[in-house]
């Protein structure tokens, strides 16, 4: 049973009063899960790690590894590969990754090259040698660009573990989790040079590190993985960051910083309309003359994961936004990143409206990479071009899956923002 507010809650706000989202539970039941036995699990990891958010600042952390050999383990965290599969396949292949769990304080990640800081000692003293090893193994895996075999040993027999896959709107799906006593990394990592540089620079603030890596061609997944295991930023300020937060944080800081550059580009002087579909997510993206503004409207429709919901909307004017995009959440930042990326690649400053509607094909959440990749794909095809705003709006009317989309736009409504440049 879906409620009208399910699309706003997305399994995270318990708006229906139930602790565990019944809709997600239903989807979980459809996963084909790996069979486990014995107390240890050894197998390839893409690499992939997960940092939980419950119990913050004492969170759980661990790698994801498959109990069975996987020929393309490396690609299980690669959106361009996953994007080419069907939703069913993505869901089942990702559910085969078992997640290890070890509890750590987020401050454990503090790196102090000079050593001897009081609070750091305190945290570390309470930390057994085993836990310290687990963290450094996870960090080593996170830096690698190729898959690595890992061995996790649990206290209990794995067969009795509750086989519950993890699902979330922001993260990629994951298989069941097991409590992890020790973690051994079997292969050597392959560490891209920019990653090595950013990780060892304990004077560089995290925002700079993230941008630097992105410009060197490191994918967001890898950057947010490094960010989440506390390998970026000023040494003493490094923390473990829940995966869910780190994905949005990376999308946010990248698009914010790249936007500053887009502001100085030549103003777009016509209207562009792009479209694309991916896993039952349909998009229209309109670009129009500056000032820079960004908005996103989305509607979950009948049969989609959250059932039929109202149109939800988040936006920011030329001065940007300070609060979190509450309604759309992570997808907003993912869409903003792809859009700003595109502005830089065409060398134009523009405003943008992203419209997303989700149909019944999207029955399991795959993570915000779906949005990022879909928009990238959309921007690869030549846009429909219009000379005036009215024709753009008509074209959206004709192809938009959200009736009444006009009610939820701030920038394509009756008032149009101007810049001072137009009066010179």
């Amino acid at each position: 049973m879906a409620y009208p507010y399910c699309s706003e809650c997305k399994g995270t706000k318990a708006m229906c009063g139930q602790d565990h989202c019944p809709l997600l539970a239903d989807v979980r039941g459809r996963a084909s899960l790996p069979k486990l036995s014995g107390r240890s699990l050894q197998g390839p990891s893409p690499p992939s790690v997960f940092v939980g958010r419950f119990g913050y600042p004492r969170i759980t952390i661990g790698p994801l590894a498959s109990p069975a050999p996987l020929p393309m383990a490396e690609r299980l965290e690669d959106p361009s590969f996953l994007n080419a599969l069907g939703l069913e396949e993505v869901y089942s292949i990702r559910s085969s990754l078992v997640r290890g769990r070890s509890r750590l304080d987020v401050r454990t990640a503090k790196a102090d090259p000079l050593g001897g800081s009081e609070p750091l000692m305190e945290v570390e003293d309470r930390l057994g040698i085993g836990k310290r090893r687990i963290l450094s193994s996870i960090q080593e895996m996170s830096m690698s660009s190729r898959s690595m075999d890992a061995e996790m040993i649990s206290r209990k027999d794995l067969k009795v573990m509750a086989p519950i896959p993890s699902l979330d709107m922001i993260m990629m799906p994951m298989g069941p989790s097991i409590d992890m006593l020790t973690l051994k990394v079997i292969d050597n990592p392959r560490i891209p040079r920019p990653v090595d540089r950013a990780v060892s620079d304990t004077d560089m603030i995290a925002n700079e590190g993230v941008l630097e890596l992105y410009r060197e061609g490191i994918r967001e997944e890898h950057i947010s993985r490094l960010f989440s295991v506390g390998l970026l930023g000023g040494g003493r300020r490094r923390r473990l960051v829940p995966t869910r937060w780190s994905i949005t944080a990376v999308d946010d800081t990248l698009s914010k910083q790249l936007k500053e550059r887009a502001l100085g580009l030549t103003p777009l002087d016509c209207y562009h309309l792009y479209s694309c579909s991916s896993f039952g997510n349909h998009f229209l993206i309109a670009l129009y003359p500056p000032p820079f503004r960004f908005e996103m409207a989305e509607q979950w429709q009948k049969g989609s994961l959250w059932g039929e919901g109202d149109v939800i909307h988040d936006w920011e004017g030329p001065r940007g936004r300070t609060g979190y995009a509450d309604a759309i959440t992570g997808a907003y930042y993912a869409a903003r990143l792809s859009t700003v990326d595109h502005l830089l690649s065409i060398g134009r400053n523009a405003g943008a409206t992203v419209i997303r509607w989700i149909t019944d094909e999207y029955w399991a959440p795959l993570g915000v990479w779906v949005i990022r990749e879909a928009l990238r794909k959309a921007f690869l095809t030549p846009p429909r071009l219009f000379n005036d705003r009215a024709s753009l709006i008509q074209a959206i009317d004709a192809s938009c899956g959200i009736r009444n989309w006009r009610r939820s736009t701030r920038f394509l409504g009756p008032l149009e923002d101007m810049t001072l440049d137009r009066y010179i």
Partner: protein
Amino acid sequence: MFPKGTGHTMFEITVKSEVLRNVFSILTPITGEIKLVADKDGWRVRAVDPAHVAMVDLELSYGAFEDYNVEPLELGLNVERLLDHLKSAKADEEIMMKLDQDNRMIVSMSNLTLKFPLVDSSGFSDPKVPNLSLPVSLKLNSAELQKGLKASQSISDYLTFNCTEDKLVITSTEDLSSMTLELKKGSEYIEEKFEGTAKSSFSLDYFSQLMKGVGTNRDIMLHIGNSYPLKIEFEFSDGLGKVRYLLAPRIESA
């Protein structure tokens, strides 16, 4: 052109902290970093916000300074940071600003001295100022506008100014809610020029920022056109400082 502040150019001024605070708090709503153009007559700053929606043009005559010893030059300054530092100074405290041999700015206030490098201003473009002729000019106190601003925050994201022969009506509407502020000629404002009705809409976010720069109780001149930029002019420090703000409109599209 002026020398770009290379070598050792003379720049040494003493000024009451209140004057500097005025200058910086007028500039910060537009941008955090500015290019200050200084010569024997005084200071001038022209800056546009990153999105090119609002602009400031500020002049401060040398007469506003206690002591003024300046060769023509351009300086890149982080005004946001300076404004922060000035918060600790009393209004009539004297502030000394000076450029040292290494091109660092030295700011001293009583027994506190700050030194910091200049911001690289070579990338700052000189914004072109649109030449606007606007049909309506009104003189009023900024306090008259503040109350309408406050009320509209919770209603919408834009304001519409509608000026007819005997009144200025400011509205903000969304769905079923609205805010209307009515100002009458002769009581709340003085008409300086009226060449026909004027109606324009503006981003509330930007307008509130500019009003922060204007301050709560200042006589301002408001120039309004028809779906055209807004101009706000005012003076500070006994007329020795002059400010012009421009704000691009939101226009009704066909």
